[in-house]
């Protein structure tokens, strides 16, 4: 590591810290994009098996080169801009969708030292950055100058704003019990307590004492991602493909990449905040990034499973779930956690 540092210093001189940071960003984004590609493959394969099909199996062994072929196909296709579309916003919208999905990764820790920017308020930063993801959807819907796209955009805007509230409340519970906004601290705090001392780490993670919030966060996260069963924004049967109906080629692919990058992000956040991050579930096994990846894969599998299992929510049912079910649960559990922390039974000291 030191040799690498001095080598870089020798070549780039004073600009080395900037180059080093850029290198680290590439080291995060490149595997992320690769996982996005293979998540689409996994989705088709998993849903295929759940529906007693084989899924992609022609391009490469087990269809493993399928996502690369799909990417190449989208890259070579023409981008058609509708005649009366607002060209500038039409082009900017996919960028606005993917930028927050990538920017949020800046503060996501992979182990307690492996993090690009270990800032104090990393949880707040993630909330702020991910709340901007909705602009890509709204603007693409408006700029396309198409009925279906606009309807999809409006549905999506209302849905994302509604579910962000319950998501925010579950995060408030997390930061109350961890007494920190820093994701590294949040993970470290989870590995302390009675069960962790007994070597049963997985019982001391936040998912157990905050079980209602875990469920609310997971479901709100699915809704925030516009994934099935909350994918009314792109309900094929009603509004063709929703907000990205007018997009083709790489512009469409960017929306696709953003959706899957966001899925991986929500999986990472859920693992970090509720499932103990990189900590191993039992005391005698060493901690490591492997555990984080395993937990993320499990959450991602849940997302795919949801899609294969549940029928799409009707729009009014979706709003009812957000405002009349999740919001009261969050408000009550917030008070419960507050009282619990002030009582002698407090387990988060």
């Amino acid at each position: 590591m030191d040799a690498l540092m001095s080598f870089g210093q020798g070549i780039f001189g004073g600009a080395w810290p900037a180059v080093w940071t850029l290198l680290k960003i590439v080291l995060i984004v490149a595997p992320l994009m690769l996982s996005v590609a293979y998540l689409t493959w996994a989705e088709r394969k998993v849903i295929g098996y759940m529906q007693v099909r084989i899924g992609p199996n022609r391009v490469g062994p087990w269809g493993l080169i399928q996502p690369i072929a799909d990417g190449l196909k989208l890259l070579l296709k023409e981008i058609i801009v509708p005649g009366k579309a607002n060209k500038a916003i039409f082009v900017i919208a996919p960028m606005l969708a993917i930028a927050p999905a990538l920017a949020a990764w800046a503060v996501v820790p992979f182990t307690d030292t492996l993090v690009l920017a270990n800032i104090d308020a990393s949880l707040l930063y993630i909330m702020a950055i991910t709340s901007m993801g909705v602009y890509g959807v709204i603007l693409s819907g408006w700029a396309s100058n198409s009925k279906y796209a606009f309807l999809g955009a409006m549905r999506s805007a209302a849905q994302m704003v509604s579910y962000e509230i319950s998501m925010g409340f579950s995060l408030i519970c997390i930061l109350m019990v961890s007494n920190s906004l820093n994701l590294v601290d949040i993970v470290n705090v989870q590995n302390q307590g009675r069960f962790a001392d007994m070597g049963l780490n997985f019982l001391s993670w936040n998912w157990l004492p905050l079980l209602p919030m875990f469920i609310v966060y997971l479901i709100s996260g699915t809704a925030e991602l516009n994934r099935a069963p909350f994918d009314v924004a792109e309900g094929e049967s009603e509004i063709v493909a929703g907000f990205h109906v007018e997009y083709s080629g790489m512009a469409f692919a960017v929306f696709f990449l953003a959706e899957y990058a966001n899925m991986i992000l929500v999986a990472a956040l859920t693992s970090l905040m509720f499932l103990g991050g990189w900590a191993s579930p039992v005391g005698f096994l060493p901690d490591g990034i492997v555990w984080l990846l395993a937990k993320m894969s499990f959450i991602l599998l849940l997302f795919l499973w949801f899609r294969a299992t549940f029928p799409r929510y009707r729009y009014d049912q979706l709003m009812r779930l957000g405002w009349k079910v999740f919001l009261p649960i969050c408000l009550i559990w917030l008070v419960v956690v507050g009282v619990w922390m002030m009582s002698p039974l407090n387990i988060w000291k």
Binding site: I89, A121, Y125, M127, S131, F150, M154, A157, A158, L181
Partner: protein, 198 residues
């Protein structure tokens, strides 16, 4: 010029440009988007001042929530620009007067000695969490103004509902509670009957 000053001028240039475009853009959507850009850049400047909580709160609240709903409304309105531009010169003197007043007030506030902080005091040592400090201050020293502000917001929310609620609608509606508890046997009856032969 050190890097912080360079970043400050860069962000300020974007901020001034975006703010100007908010009032000069002909398309209301473009104006709203430039307002979002202005908020975002302003958040950057605050972060540069080491006020990371305020910077993130600005982006979270204004960019992430308020402007989404604002954009939502603007998109659905059919705004005729030419009609709005009419009478620009009639309103100009009054507008200029209000503008001058605001500039004067800002000058008075920023120029007074109560708002001057020595550059040495403004530097935050590493390891001090801005968010924690604001929270501690807000819930100890300023707890009554804080509670008062939340009550004012609550009153605003209730007032908005009272003003817009026009009584129960006459239209048909579904009761989700009943829908959720429906069982298959409430809707369908399977009959046992002998085969009919003709």
């Amino acid at each position: 010029m050190d890097i912080q000053t360079a970043v400050f001028y860069f962000l300020s240039a974007i901020l001034i440009f975006a703010s100007l475009r908010v009032i000069t853009a002909r398309n209301p959507i473009h104006a709203a988007l430039h307002l979002i850009l202005a908020f975002f850049t302003c958040g950057g400047i605050w972060a540069l001042l080491q006020a990371e909580f305020l910077a993130i709160a600005l982006i979270l609240v204004y960019v992430g929530a308020v402007m989404v709903l604002f954009l939502f409304v603007v998109m659905m309105l059919d705004i005729n620009i030419d009609k709005i531009r009419q009478g620009f010169w009639n309103y100009l003197p009054l507008g200029a007067l209000v503008g001058m007043l605001m500039v004067m007030e800002m000058g008075l506030v920023l120029g007074s000695k109560y708002f001057q902080v020595a550059a040495a005091d403004a530097m935050v040592p590493a390891g001090v969490s801005n968010t924690k400090e604001i929270g501690a201050l807000m819930f100890s020293e300023y707890v009554y103004p804080f509670e008062l502000a939340s009550i004012v917001l609550l009153v605003g929310m209730i007032a908005a509902i009272v003003l817009t609620y026009r009584g129960p609608k006459k239209s048909k509606y579904t009761n989700p509670n009943q829908q959720v508890f429906v069982k298959a046997k409430d809707r369908m009856r399977v009959l046992q009957m002998p085969v009919e032969k003709d």
